[in-house]
């Protein structure tokens, strides 16, 4: 069986998980909010992109507009809900975003119904072949963009967090919000920046994944599950680990779906991988303590 197409598709969807995971992680570290609405924001951006393209807007303009809308929707939620979210515990913050997610899903179903559509970007029409003989696959330009964008965004986020003023302030908030504020950091301003950046990443992820899989509000909304699994594997800290986890989850998911006997279990892959990594990590810590005692 030729598995290469599944490897390509898996790495591509995995790179979108990685991209989104980074968006979720940056927001979580800065604001303490684990955003369950990340997928829904991406879904809304993708649905709007499809609508704009249907109405004759060039794809590039539609995408740029929808990434902006993703950032704006996320920012508005952050500005309106942020001051309240700041006063409650993390579990209730996450549940609040789940509510926002369902509201966005409801809005999408109201505007467009639940029919699965296809958002075909012009970049998906050009591509090249890889491999030969038994193992071969076609790679299109959108897929290359997915992979490249994931690497660029992860690297860019790491550099920005390290070297820019806003990135340094985000790390300060992640370290100790109260002290960061006492040192003069404008908590609201920095949090709003994180909401906007995370929303923009959600927007581009939604558009890309809609092109690569299918354009369907509920499907895109619940893509947040594998994205969160990547963040869990990255231990809510590591950008690099989150990226690797996203790629692995996408790859394994795609390979599982290639085998008819186990294809039904492909949606369980993120949970299985996250659970295995958590258990392995816990076990390693226990062993370390044992060594220290000895």
């Amino acid at each position: 069986m030729n598995l290469l197409p599944f490897v390509v598709a898996g790495l591509v969807i995995g790179s979108v998980y990685a991209l989104s995971g980074v968006g979720v992680l940056v927001l979580y570290r800065t604001t303490g909010v684990l955003n369950f609405a990340h997928g829904a924001i991406g879904g809304l951006a993708a649905m709007l992109a499809w609508q704009f393209i249907e109405n004759g807007l060039p794809a590039s303009a539609a995408i740029a507009l929808c990434v902006t809308i993703g950032a704006a929707v996320s920012l508005v939620f952050g500005v309106v809900a942020g001051p309240y979210l700041g006063r409650i515990d993390e579990l209730r913050k996450a549940v609040a975003t789940l509510g926002f997610s369902l509201a966005l899903l409801g809005l999408m179903l109201y505007l467009w119904n639940d029919k699965a559509r296809r958002l075909l970007l012009p970049t998906s029409l050009t591509g090249f072949s890889v491999g030969n003989g038994e193992a071969h696959a076609r790679v299109n330009l959108t897929q290359l963009i997915c992979l490249t964008l994931a690497i660029v965004v992860v690297t860019g986020a790491a550099l920005a967090l390290r070297y820019t003023a806003i990135g340094t302030a985000m790390r300060a908030l992640a370290s100790d919000r109260e002290l960061a504020a006492v040192l003069g950091t404008s908590v609201r301003l920095v949090e709003n920046a994180a909401w906007a950046v995370s929303g923009a990443i959600a927007g581009i992820s939604g558009v890309l994944v809609a092109d690569q899989t299918r354009l369907e509000p509920a499907f895109l909304t619940f893509l947040v599950i594998p994205e969160l699994a990547a963040v869990v594997v990255g231990r809510f800290r590591s950008l690099g680990m989150t990226m690797v986890a996203g790629l692995v989850i996408g790859l394994v998911q795609s390979l599982v779906s290639s085998q008819p006997s186990i294809t039904a279990f492909s949606t369980a892959v993120p949970f299985v991988i996250a659970t295995v990594v958590i258990l392995a990590g816990t076990r390693r810590r226990t062993v370390t303590i044992g060594v220290v005692r000895a």
Partner: protein
């Protein structure tokens, strides 16, 4: 002038500070003393913008800072060192200073960070280490340097010497004198009187949320018995 007039602070719905008056001038060191639970830290939280339920007046010059958010208080020129030598533990020493320098114009930031590393040479060799890995004394030094990076007009220090070895405190005292000599007014909150009386020109004592004594430090050095009376208002 940092002016505090009739400041009342509630914590958990209960009033714990019942009308405190204080003034700190430029370059002046004023000590706020009192036993554990006297309400000193509540005064600090109120000044820093961390206590929500406050009334009365807190002002820098003519500008009221009561009710402002912590970052706005800092922008108004009042820096606070919180209790427990608090630093950004998972950031490096240099990054701690960088965060504080963000208040300054971009062109002045790195020079301000370097100036603090020069002022506290022992920080130099730790610049790249996580602040959480430093000793308590080193963290307090870093907290002082961090508070000073963006050149505040006033510095409020909560429990500077608590939990620190005497040798560390001995290093901090001249550093604070140096800070005051640069024109920064210091409000020093202390549970232990010796350090405070050594540094301060004036002393205010708080017991159960009310001011029980205001005096020149020199007088208290000569009559320490007055302090113990003021510390234990109810038993006096």
């Amino acid at each position: 002038m940092l002016t505090i007039h009739d400041l009342k602070v509630k914590r958990g719905g209960r009033e714990v500070v019942h009308g405190v008056h204080l003034e700190v001038g430029p370059g002046e060191v004023v000590a706020l003393l009192g036993a554990n639970g006297a309400g000193k830290s509540s005064v600090v939280l109120a000044i820093a913008g961390l206590a929500r339920e406050t009334s009365g007046q807190v002002a820098v010059g003519t500008k009221s800072i009561r009710g402002l958010r912590p970052n706005q208080v800092r922008r108004a020129g009042v820096a606070t060192m919180q209790e427990g030598h608090r630093v950004l533990t998972d950031m490096s020493v240099a990054d701690n200073l960088r965060v504080a320098s963000l208040l300054l114009p971009r062109s002045e930031r790195s020079a301000a960070v370097d100036a603090m590393l020069d002022l506290f040479p022992e920080m130099h060799k730790f610049a790249d280490r996580p602040a959480g890995s430093l000793s308590g004394g080193q963290q307090q030094m870093l907290a002082l340097a961090t508070a000073m990076v963006a050149r505040p007009d006033f510095l409020v220090i909560d429990e500077m010497s608590l939990g620190l070895a005497p040798v560390v405190v001995a290093r901090l005292v001249p550093a604070l004198r140096d800070v005051a000599a640069r024109g920064v007014g210091i409000l020093l909150i202390e549970q232990f009187t010796r350090v405070a009386l050594e540094l301060a020109a004036r002393v205010t004592v708080l017991a159960q949320g009310v001011v029980t004594l205001q005096s020149r430090a020199a007088e208290l050095r000569e009559h320490p018995d007055r302090l113990s009376v003021a510390y234990n208002l109810t038993e006096a």
